[in-house]
Structures are given as C-alpha cells and as structure tokens.
C-alpha cells in the first residue's frame, strides 16, 4: 500500500525543503507516547537509514522505518487548516481509536 501525500501536503513539504536548503525528504514514524499508545513522528531527513523503506509521491521522498510501517501502511499525509491552526494530518487507515488529547492513537 505504501504512503501517499495529498497535493497540499506535497506542496508544503517541497516548500519546507526549499526554505531549509537541504534534506532528502520527510520521515514518518511512530513512537510510544501519549495516553492511548502511539504517537506520530514527522521530521525531515538528510540521509535515509539502510533499513528504511523509501516511497516517492508527488516528487516528495518519504522514508519510514520498517517497524513504523506496520502501523502506517496505507497512510495518506494531508495538509489542512483547522481554525487558526494549519499543519500536517495523518489519515491512517490502521487507527482503531485515538485518545482525547489527539496526540496518540491505537491500532
């Protein structure tokens, strides 16, 4: 299934990388945290790790470590505005429920 980006997300990533001046793309991952189990990681990467799985969508390179991929496979990364905030959003089909604070989720 892999990882995909919406056009809005891809545009923002490309803009971010351009402003930063370097970077191979973005890394998506999960870590244990929050009140309901897992939380997302979204960061820029310079060099992928050897074990990383690499995806490319809309001219953006996305790397995911194999363990996180179990939880993220099929995820679409979106960029959206909610009220005064704007930012990236994970549309993850694996999520069963999320916690109240919105930081963490369960699969």
């Amino acid at each position: 299934m892999g990882i995909t980006l919406t056009e809005a997300a891809a545009e923002h990533v490309r803009g971010f990388l351009k402003k930063r001046g370097r970077g191979g793309g973005i890394r998506l991952g999960v870590k244990t945290s929050g009140c309901s189990g897992l939380a997302y990681v979204l960061e820029v990467f310079d060099e992928p790790e050897p074990e990383d799985v690499v995806f490319e969508d809309r001219d953006v390179k996305v790397v995911v470590d194999p363990k996180s991929l179990i939880y993220l496979d099929g995820t679409e990364l979106d960029f959206t505005r909610e009220g005064l905030n704007e930012g990236f959003k994970f549309n993850n089909p694996n999520v069963k429920d999320a916690c109240g604070c919105g930081e963490s989720f369960n699969v």
């Binding site: 990533v13 971010f16 973005i26 890394r27 991952g29 870590k31 244990t32 945290s33 997302y40 990681v41 979204l42 960061e43 820029v44 990467f45 310079d46 363990k67 959206t80 909610e82 905030n85 704007e86 930012g87 990236f88 959003k89 994970f90 999320a98 604070c101 919105g102 930081e103 989720f105």
Partner: protein, 625 residues
Amino acid sequence: MSLMQISEPGEAPRTAEHRRAAGIDLGTTNSLVASVIDEQAVTLGDGQGGQLLPSVVRYLASGSPRVGLTDQQFIHDDPLNTISSVKRFMGRGVEDIRKLADQFPYEFVRAERGMPRIRTVAGDFSPVEVSAEILKALKTRAEQALGGELEGVVITVPAYFDDAQRQATKDAAQLAGLKVLRLLNEPTAAAIAYGLDQGAEGIHAIYDLGGGTFDISILRFSKGVFEVLATAGDSALGGDDIDRVIAEWLLDQAGIGADADQGCLQEIMYHARKAKEALTAQDSFAFSIERPDGALWQGRLERVVFEDLIRPVIKRTLAPCKRVLRDANIDVRDICEVVMVGGSTRIPCVRDMVGAFFHCQPHVDIDPDKVVAIGAAIQADILVGNKPGDDMLLLDVIPLSLGIETMGGLVEKLIPRNTTIPVTRAQKFTTFKDGQTAMVIHVVQGERELVSDNRSLARFELQGIPPMVAGAAHIQVTFQVDADGLLSVSARELSTGVETGIVVKPSYGLSEEEIEHMLRDSLTHASDDVSIRRLREYQVEAERAINVIQVALAENGERLLSREERARIDMALAALQAVQDGDDYLAIKQAMTNLDRATAEFAERRMNASIHDALTGHKVNEFSG
C-alpha cells in the same frame, strides 16, 4: 488528531532526556520504591540506609501523618491511630471489612457510598487515603533520589486483585499526585526483574512467601506476553508463622509458660526472628534470654533443629502449589523457571524444598524483598519511554468473565475470562417492551449463567431511547478493559446516538478465595446452569409472546375475531400463563406452540387488516412512484 509540523531529524521528542520513572511495590507489610539509574534498577533508600518502608501510617492529633519505620512501635502504644496492613482493606466494602475487622483494633465508620473509613484522632480516613500517605512518602523519597518530579510510576498489585481493588490503588496514587503508567501484577513484576521476558517462551512459577501471606502464581510467557494462568495461596501464612514455631520452641526450652506477660512474649518473638535471620547464613545461633523470674536462660539453636522446626510450615505452602498446577492444568515438569519472592525465601531450607517440589533450581539472585519493586521499575522505565525501540508490551488477562444482565436474570458474557487485556468488545441488544425508552445496564462479573450467582459490578440506565416496538431499537453495549484491568462500559442507542457509560468503581471487593470459589462453582454447577438458562430463556420468550398477544387483542381482537376464536386464544393464553413461571421448560414450550397455533389465523388477519388500512383511501398511482 492534532496537526503536526515537520521537525528536524531526531528532534521529534524521542528521548532527549532521561525521564524520571519509578516502580512501587505497595505491600501489606512493607513498601518499596525503585528506579532505573544508569541502566540499573535499584531500590531507593530513605537516606539512612533503610530501603523497606513499613506500610504503617500514624495519624497525629495535629500535623501531617507519619509514615514508616519510626512509627511501627506505636502500633502497640497507639493502636487506634496507627494504621497497618491497609492493603487488606483496599477496594473493600463495609460488609467485607466487617469480617476482617475483628483482627484489627481500628474503629471503622460507615461513610457515603458504602466506602468504610477508619476513625483516628485526625479524622476519618478511607483505606485509599491511608494508602495515599504511604505513596506520598515513597514519592518524596524517589523525587529526592532522582532529583526531580516523577513522570510516572508503575505500581504492583496481587494478581488476584479485582477491578475494585485495582481502582482503589489507582485512586490512592492519584491522591498522592502520582501518574500511574500501569498497574502490574506482582508475579509478573518478579518475572521481569529476572528478565524472563527477554528469554524463551515458557511457563514459570512465582513463589512469594512474605511476612504474613503466601502466593503462588503460574505465568505463561508467549509471544512477548505474560499471562497469569492461575494463582493460589494462603492469606494467613508467612514468615510470622516461622517466627512463631521458633518462639514456641524457645518458650519450651527456656521453661517459660505461654501465659507470660505480653512484654516477655514480644521479647521472645524478637529473639525468634533474630535466630531465623541469622540461621540463613550460620549453622547455629546462641540465645541469652531473661526469664520472667529474672533468671538468665542461655541456649543454642542448631540449623538442623531449626530446619526440622520450620519444615511443617513450609510444607503448608506446597498444597497451594499443587492446587495451582491443577488449576492451570499443567504438570510440574512444564515449569521452566521458578522465581522466589518475599523475605522468607532467603531461608535455605525453603529454597531446597521449593526446588525439590518444582524439580528445578529457583532464582534467588535478586533480593527477594526487592525483586517486585525492581521489576516494576524496569517496566516503568520502558513505559515512560526511556528505552526506544524496546517493544516489550506486557499484557495480562482478566480473571473472571464480564457481561451484562439480560431478561430473565441471565448473564450475557461480553468478555470471557482469560481474555488478554487491553480489550474492547461490543454487542447489540434491544428493547423488550413496546415503547420502552430506557434500559438498565447491569454489569456483572463471574462464570455462572444467572446474575444472582455472579458478582454485581455496576448498574446504570440508558435513557432517551425513542419509543419503538419491542425489538426495533439497537443498543450497542461496549466493554473496554484498559491495560490496568479497569473496565469502562458504555451503552449507545444507534438511531439517536444517545450514549451513557460508566467506569467501574469500587462497590465491594473480592478475595482470592472467592475468585477460586466462583470458578469452582461454575464448574460444579455447569449442567444446572445450562438447564436453568434454557428454562429462563423459555420463560422470557413466553412473557414476550403473552405481551404481544395481549397488545394485539386489545387493538383489534374485537373486530377480527369471532367469539369462539377469541375463546380459543384466551384459553391458549391462559394455559401459557399457568405454566409460564413453572420449572418445566417443555410445558412452556408446548403451551407456546399451542398459543402460536391458536393465533396463526388472527395474526394473518391482522396483517391483512393493516395492509388494507394502509392502502384504503390511496390511489394506486401513489404507490407506483
């Protein structure tokens, strides 16, 4: 979910700093706090060399209560205000405590919601509040040792603790200002301390002989998960019994009568304990005791004699060991590892006998007083996120099935016992009567078929169900048991979305023996239960049928039925009502078949009549669109 921004590599708060976490062994007699420091789990002391904090709280007329060692002596001087063994009261109702209260000097007062409180000079305190004082003392100790506020703690509880007792423990932690990452079963903590979770899959026995209680647990480790297969024990057997047999020997040897005054007997108990501790390493121990008549008695206890004396006490632990193997349905040869917990397992003779029983060398390398706290600390360290990449996730199982009451006082189990937690299960239920707008959700725990034979956990009402005919409403009941074994139940009417729920709070507690008893009962009564369920189901069905027919008769019985037809239905109805509450399910079944037959024609006419009513007055082309 919250929206995210792109972080720099590694900046996404992975484990930039070591987060302070601790494991707490909240014991009946002593409590301990431990933490992982420089990758080593160590217990944290009071700064004066003491590690064990006696689980004793003394309330003073003014000022904050005092916790721990210095107060133990006041149990004798100030028994009413010095609370010990409070763990035994956690999550228990007034009724349960009445049984226990005889052994304790405290004055219990009944308070709102059935939660008992203990009267002291400083006011009335619930067991939860007393426990919170102990936890506060441990928290202070940990924060001093670690140099800052704790992110979270793991607190251990006996494997047989029920939801009410677990919730009470969590409440105490909250009161003490601690964030509970998880409650962990004590035997599981001991297994973690020995790294059994890093080893091969297999079945392990945890032998815990403390000061006053004995527990034996069988854990199965598979696919990274510890499952409690069975527990057994004796809540009145421990190191104190060993002291007592030595004391009796001393009284006998020194020629002191058992009628000697309290002070002298306490002195003897003190010497007995000293002898027990010394004989763990030495081959003999010398006494010098002042008799009540003033004469000095001097004597010597050889290790061989000591072992002969205490062997019967240790033998008493082997019966629960046999029982637990039987309950877990395993052979002693299936046991891979045996872990020793509790100060009394320091005695070499205990180790030998346990080793012989399980045919293997028990684990004794970690201080048996600290092993549970150390396991909890390791777990806390992982849960707080200090070990990235370590995906150990510990799961436990629920000890008794959870379900709700359905019509006829029957239990519908939503989560069967031994299901690994966390778990969420949902099931749809419906209304029983026409126009029913509310439904009582009665949450029960146990293995039996009838609600009355199980334990009631909670009861709440879902209101605002739109009036519909019986059976048309869809009410989804969801049971969720979190990683700490706490149960939340919610009920939701699917068409309107009205929802209500409850988190199970203490109503009253349940002892290990009672759980065993409940399990055994469900086996011995299995066939009775099946037949009573069948009977109740027919009874409920009969009531429903009577209801439906009565409503129908009132509606258009006059219009659609001749006098004879009506009489026949009334007779069949009366025949069913006559047997409805009886014990003979076949009679109910027969009467229902008869009623069904008697009303078949009526039902058909009703159907035709309603179609006729629906169509009359409309043009055909209204229906063709």
